[in-house]
């Protein structure tokens, strides 16, 4: 379904509207407060963008370096061209490790490739261990936010879900009670399951160190308790140096959860005998990313560190929620990333899912020029022949009218006589405007006519 249609359905869900307005409003305020504490925030943004660009513009060498350092530390690196290759690799590794189950750290990239279904297809059960991901999984639902996947659910809905799926009764809606319930359910799995699967927030080429940040401690359980750890990461997650984390970690925490630092930051380098997982596999996933890299402007999207600040400030996202985007990555970043990752074959209505208000760029910690990229992608959609029927010829006709004072003034005369201006007639049916808004009547005299009569 196109975004406008999916959004029209989502907008009718009044509970969703309330949940989202409340949740995004809270995170927005928290972020604004901790960003205001920082004197050199703009300089930090510049530095974070520079670090990501330095890796992206040198990606082939950075990735080969990462492969060498990870291998030297006892890890095993696998390359995956697309989702199918990545899934096949993880499925085989998990099957070989045995047990029929994996525990998962919250990860966008495994959502992107549909790993859980691929595992299920061969009889391996994936347990999501992040509280919100667990809520999504138990509800047979889809994540609707990058950081807060169950943002569309409120406490009462979660209580009802836990009672239905975890055999609880008379649960309170207090967050502490809900968390304790999830913890009891998850602890047993942490101790039992021998294979962990994670994504990566950063991977350091210099040292082969993988970094995962989280708030609940579940991630650390998954990356330390199992005997086998499999990490899937998009190739854009590599950063050159370990010291780069000094910039990236605090800017991520302040931008995403509105904290000075996130509660749990796990760093590991290969395998340490007798301590933690004894087998470590790193799956490097392309899945469209090198094509994104080929677009001079669009490649900025690969700087994204998945903080989701752009979602929380987006007036479109706040009203429609994440599901309307029908992509793994919703909100403003999703609107520029999803179509590009698909090679502009899918998600063609997403670049249009923005008023270009610019709020996303202002909060982006790595300064992705989202509005400019949206505009750029709109032209790529047009160039790919995917614009709405008749739009191209209409826009050309309008440009011809506006290309000379003569034809422009003739069109103004027509508008005054009660017929619609070409712009109104051509871009969409008039009802798209008048369903909710009145149109002003064309005044008897244009400005230029008045100027000519009184001032020229």
């Amino acid at each position: 379904m196109s975004f406008p249609n999916a959004a029209a359905i989502a907008l009718r869900d009044t509970q969703l509207r309330h949940n989202l307005a409340r949740a995004t409003g809270t995170i927005r305020a928290r972020r604004a407060a901790v960003v205001a504490e920082v004197d050199d925030w703009e300089a930090q943004r510049d530095e974070a963008a520079r670090i990501k660009d330095s890796a992206l513009l040198d990606l082939d060498r950075q990735l080969e370096r990462l492969e060498r350092t990870v291998s030297a530390a006892g890890g095993c690196v696998h390359w995956a061209r697309d989702a199918a290759e990545a899934n096949a690799t993880v499925v085989k590794l998990a099957a070989d490790a045995g047990g029929g189950e994996v525990i998962k750290v919250k990860s966008m990239v495994t959502e992107e490739i549909g790993l859980n279904s691929a595992l299920a297809a061969v009889g391996i059960t994936a347990h999501e261990t992040d509280l919100a991901e667990l809520i999504v999984q138990l509800g047979e639902d889809r994540p609707s936010h990058i950081l807060v996947p169950a943002i569309h659910r409120n406490r009462t809905e979660i209580r009802d879900l836990f009672e239905a799926k975890l055999g609880e009764s008379e649960l309170s809606t207090e967050p502490s009670a809900l968390t304790a319930t999830a913890r009891r359910y998850l602890r047993e799995r942490f101790l039992r399951v021998g294979v962990g699967v994670s994504g990566a927030n950063f991977a350091v080429a210099e040292t082969g160190t993988i970094c995962v940040v989280e708030s609940e401690g579940n991630g650390r359980m998954c990356t330390t308790l199992p005997h086998t750890l499999i990490t899937v990461m998009g190739i854009e997650k590599v950063i050159p140096r370990l010291t780069d984390l000094g910039t990236m970690l605090p800017i991520l925490a302040r931008s995403s959860t509105g904290e000075r630092m996130n509660p749990y930051t796990s760093l590991w380098t290969g395998v340490v005998p007798g301590d933690g997982p004894q087998a470590f596999h790193l799956v490097l996933l392309d899945n469209g990313r090198t094509d994104v890299l080929a677009d001079r402007l669009g490649r900025q999207a690969l700087r994204c560190i998945r903080c989701s600040a752009c979602l929380n400030v987006c007036p479109v996202y706040e009203r429609t929620g994440g599901h309307a985007y029908e992509s793994t990555y919703p909100g403003p970043i999703g609107a520029i990333l999803a179509p590009q990752l698909s090679g502009m074959r899918e998600h063609n209505s997403l670049p249009g899912a923005s008023t270009l208000c610019g709020a996303c760029y202002d909060v982006c910690p790595v300064k992705i020029e989202i509005p400019s990229i949206l505009v750029h992608l709109r032209s790529r959609v047009v160039d790919a022949g995917k614009a709405p029927r008749g739009e191209r010829s209409a826009m050309r006709a309008l440009a011809r009218i506006l290309s000379s004072r003569h034809s422009y003034e003739a069109a103004q005369r027509a508008a005054r006589l009660g017929s619609l201006t070409p712009a109104q007639r051509l871009v969409a049916p008039l009802s798209a405007w008048t369903a909710s808004r009145d149109l002003p009547a064309a005044p008897p005299q244009t400005f230029r006519r008045w100027w000519r009569e009184h001032r020229a």
Binding site: P315, R319, A359, R405, A428, A432, R437, R448
Partner: protein, 229 residues
């Protein structure tokens, strides 16, 4: 100071009062105003809808029409933003264009244009004025010096109204949801007038208010500055 007025096709055709008010205010601030009549449309609609080639053609026509002007002033922040932000990439140059309020305050140093407007007013900072041109509080400084005006702060003022050019017709439901929240906030102020520096946003907001018979009117800021009460 001699300035060229870029009226914006939208104002020219639908909001001529804004154009007359702009001329009046500029002259009061000591400017001599020219109106180069070959100007048509800045190309914003074409750029933002994904037609950069057509937009480049329109951009070249505007540059030609406005050539030689030392300062270009427009009562449309989004058109000024288009010329500033997109023209360099489209046609390799950008004209010396200013949004009206920012020209008065930041270039001329004028914050009082001798207006009187005995009404309560809520100011909506439009996205392009706020986050592209970054004109800051220039409009509020000018409004603050209008005699007998009652300025009422608009809650969530910096949130987009939901217009977004073709967004308003390509995504009418989302656009309307955003508009509903904006109108609710305007209603909460109890103001008689909602003002801004872009008639496109005001046509959207005003169109919604009018449909709801909500009893508030929209008015371009230039018209308040031109008012003598």
């Amino acid at each position: 100071v001699r300035v060229a007025l870029f009226i914006a096709c939208f104002n020219d055709t639908f909001f001529p009062d804004t154009g007359r008010a702009t001329v009046e205010v500029l002259e009061r601030a000591g400017c001599t105003v020219d109106f180069p009549e070959e100007q048509t449309c800045c190309g914003q609609l074409h750029i933002n809808t994904g037609y950069p080639r057509e937009a480049a053609r329109l951009a070249r026509i505007q540059l030609r029409a406005l050539a030689g002007a030392e300062a270009i002033v427009t009562p449309s922040a989004s058109c000024a933003a288009t010329m500033r932000e997109h023209y360099p990439g489209l046609v390799g140059e950008s004209p010396p264009v200013h949004e009206l309020c920012s020209f008065l305050v930041d270039v001329l140093g004028v914050e009082d244009v001798g207006a009187r407007f005995p009404h309560s007013v809520a100011y909506h900072p439009t996205c392009h004025s706020l986050r592209t041109l970054r004109i800051g509080d220039a409009p509020l400084r000018l409004l603050g010096n209008v005699r007998d005006i009652e300025l009422i702060e608009l809650p969530d003022a910096e949130t987009c109204c939901g217009f977004g050019g073709t967004f308003s017709v390509k995504n009418p439901d989302t656009s309307t949801a955003m508009l509903a929240d904006k109108i609710r906030r305007i209603g909460e102020t109890g103001a008689e007038v909602c003002t801004a520096v872009d008639n496109s946003c005001l046509m959207h907001i005003g169109g919604g208010i009018s449909r709801l018979r909500a009893g508030v009117r929209t008015m371009h800021l230039a018209e308040i500055l031109a008012a003598r009460g």
